[in-house]
Assembly symmetry: C2
Homo-oligomer: 141 residues x 2
Amino acid sequence: MPNASIAAAAARESLAQTIIDMERTALDRWGRGDPSGFLEISSPDVVYFDPFLERRLNGLAELRRLYTELRGKIHVDRFDMLEPKVQSTETMAVLTFNLASYERDAVRRWNCTEVYRLQKHDGWRIIQTHWSLTKPALRQE
Amino acid sequence: MPNASIAAAAARESLAQTIIDMERTALDRWGRGDPSGFLEISSPDVVYFDPFLERRLNGLAELRRLYTELRGKIHVDRFDMLEPKVQSTETMAVLTFNLASYERDAVRRWNCTEVYRLQKHDGWRIIQTHWSLTKPALRQE
């Protein structure tokens, strides 16, 4: 590889680690009942999906309202982030992973897509979050 | 707004329309049983989630294998793409929407996140797809 390509690959690798670390830090706080880890790194224009909502949430105010109701109500013993992958340009980074979330005797499995954008003044911020259940057991209708 | 900002806003608006049109075109082919519309605009490094998979798919070959099994088996009468939103930089665009999919007498509701990246030679290509069911009815366990 020419030197410029090596440098670019190293920069991408370093960015991937930064993004994964940000996500893990927010997840650890989440597991202790504190949703602020995610709120603090989400952009004002963040959009959000999870399996308990009728529609996409639009903007940080809507996300804050949802998370305020959950504060202190969540307890996760341990997360396994499986095969995190980051696809990036200079100003956007897409993090995808499967997650095993261990809550007392139960384990929940998730699919997750986070999109981070580099903000002029604030560094990397989440602009899109999509949580869904991995292969959910559906009720017959 | 200064002229440069007006021009940038117009460019973003035009890009949003391009991305939404690409998605609608692929969805229309999907609804007629033809998954190639999505395969043709997906990048070799595409990653993919849907609610029927145990884990994320990695790369176009894995996605093609999945879609090959579905060819000709899907029939959707009509899609309603609800509130499509595009968040973009110059080289990446995140499209999110809710979807109502009308199949004979049933309607299925979806959450969707597509990430498009501008490729040097091929134009805009999907690098991440996440489909999940909107508020799925879960079986009691």
